[in-house]
Every structure is written in C-alpha cells, then in structure tokens.
Amino acid sequence: MFRSLVNTHVEAGDLESAHLYQEALLNLEMRAYGKDSLQFVSSRLEWADWNMNHYLTLSAEETSRTGRKIEDPRVVAAYDNYVAALEIMQNNSRYADQRMITTERKLAALNFIVNRKMHDLSRTPAASTNWQAAVQAQQQKLEQADAAHFFNGSSAFKRAIVYSSSSPQPDYDFIAQRMMELGDWYLLFDRRAAAIDIYSNALEVLTAANIPEKEINRILSPGLPVQTPDLTWQQPAESDQYAGFIDVEFELSRYGVASNPQILSSTEQDTRIEKELIRTIRKCKFRPMIADGTLLDNEKVKLRYYYTL
C-alpha cells in the first residue's frame, strides 16, 4: 500500500510526497518489528538507500538553490541507519549476510561523498575580514576531515574483506574484488604505496586460488579508471543511450597516473568533448597494468570512452 503510494509519487515526479510516505512506511515497520530486531534491518537499509538516492537526485539542484550545506539530514539519516543495521547484524553474528558487505561499501561511499562535498564547498571564498587566518583554518579543517573520512572508509572496506573471508567456503574472486576496492580507496586518497601493496595482495590471492587469467583480468581491470564509491547508488547507462565514443591512448605509471593522452579516433569529432575527456583522463586515477603477476610502469593503454549527453 505505502510502497504503491511511494512508487506512484516517484513516477509522477513528486519526490517530496514520496519521501513522506517512505518515512511513514519505516515508522510502521518499526512499530511492527521493533527498532533493534533483525527483521527491521531490511527496512532500515531501504530507508537509508532511499535517503541517499533522494539526496543524490536533488543535491545539485538544491545546492544551487539553498547554498552551502554539509550536514544534510538525508545523509545523516542514511549514515545512522546503515550503522544501526550493521550493529544489529553484528550482534546477531550475521557475518555471512551479504548485506553486511554491501552496507560497509555504502558507508565508505558516504564518507567519500561527504568529503568531496567539503572540498567542493571550500572552494567558495571565506567571508571573513581576516582572510589569511580563515583560509588556514579552513585548510586545517579539510585536512582533519580528509583523515577522518579516509580512515572511516578504509575501516569499512577492511571489515568487508573480513566478512568475505569469514565464510567456511571463501569465494576468492569475491575477496579479491573487495581488496581491489580497498586499493582503489587508497589510490583515491593518494596513498599510492599502500594501494600498490593491496593490489599486489589481491593478485596473489587470485593466483594462489588458481583463478583463470581471463577472470583475473576481469577482477583487476588493469588500465581502467578507478571507480569512485558513490557509483554504488547509480545505475550504469544502457548501451543504446550512448551518443558516441572516443578512442584514446595514454601512458600509465605503476601508481595509476595517466600521461600523454592522445585521441585516436572519435565518432563525432567534437573538440569540446575531446578536450573534456583529455582533462578527465589527466585528473583520474587508473588501476595499474599487470603482466606475469607484476605491476607494470609506463605502459601504453588504449581505451574507448563511450559517452552520453
């Protein structure tokens, strides 16, 4: 009943009403199951996901309308409910529950989003007469936030690895994927040496488990850009939505940094899109190339970038 109301409001584009009904549904389920019960975990996770989707859908538009805001109530609600759901599952020793891993990844993603938001907002000049002191204070605050978000996120990814490994019959593909995510996290926060260590460990796990090379390549995705964790809540575009593609070549260091990007060919030859792509490649982090079990340096990489407009 409430779900029908939520879905219908979403379909009609009335997200605010849908949000109210989704909250009503949470309250009803809390009364029915009890706030600390295992049955209520799904409701908490659904409400947390709802809040994040709501925040990510509206945040760009809202930010331009309402100005600076970090502590968004939807992000706070999502964080609280992810943490509460994890605590309930931990208290009930549900370590084999896949939702624990998914939720840890979402917690890390939340830290990433909040940290990015803080950096985004810090670009606005401080409104203070003592400009230099204000900038220094802001930088100090950002450094502390970077450190806190980095450690919160890496702890979440580490817990996800522990949960994956705790199964009586460990799935090494899955464990290696979680390790690669932790490596990506290190790379995103410029902990390059730690990233390479964890990537190498993931490779060792896969090799020791005799995973076929094709599968190893799929998991390690050498030469592909590091995915930012906020994609957890996003749906990939369908291939029929692509407006075109651009083929590029660049050199990739063992630390995942691209240099000398060159356009090889493109379907539309739109220089604005090509420039945007080159700029993007220069700023991105990439997973390093691998051959015969070792990470390679200054390797040529060719990628096709499909794009939507």
Partner: protein, 140 residues
Amino acid sequence: MKKWLSVSSTLLSAISSALMLCSMPVTAREDLRNLNFFPQPISSETVTGPLLAPALDLPIADQEFLDDAEGDMAIAESIAKYTLQASDTENRSGPYDPGLIQTYQTLASLYQQSGDLHKAVEMLNLQLQVIRVTKGLFFN
C-alpha cells in the same frame, strides 16, 4: 612551519582535485553538464560492437501501436467497471466498507497503467483512508 603549510596545502589541493574530478562516470561542466563517460578496454569485440540500438522495424512498431491502442481501450473499460463497482459499494455500505480497499487498489493500478498518476495517487489515498478507519491508524 611555513614550508610545512605550503607542502600540506599542495597535497590538499592534489587530493581535492582527485576527489573532485576522478568520478566515473564523469560529469562535465558548463554546457556539457550531462556529459558522462563510460570507458571500456579496446578489444576486437569493442571495435565491432554496436554503438547504438538498431532502428525499430516499422511493421512491428505499427503492430505495437495497435496493441497499445487495444490495451488503452481495455484499461478504460476496466476503469469504468471498477469505478461503478466502488460507487455501488459506497451507496450500499458507506464510504468505509472494507471491500473498497481492493477496489481502490485495482483502480490505482489501472490509472497507473493508463499514465494518469494523479488519479492513481487519489485512489491510493482513498484506500489508505479506508484502511485507517477499518484497521486502525498503524496497520501495515
């Protein structure tokens, strides 16, 4: 101290750039706001793979249109039937007859299928009202 501050601000700016711009898909700025990139390794499969979905075959599209039109008529007929049923129930047993719960649910689905979302919400709200009166405020 000054040197430390300078190093730390450089580091901070590098981290900031990475965090701001390394998202994939990447959203571009200004007039390319909706530009998103989806990278794939280049292989023989990528080179020969289709870029866009094939154009619709017109005869099939015509058939789909006819099917849709027939479907629309069937939905309209069903809406009329269930609206009459709801009205009969209301006249006979009052506006909070529990039998209305299912009727409103069906009507909401039918309106949703027809694309009239406002009417769908109206039906769901009527259903909610009947549920609250007959089964209590916190019935789920």
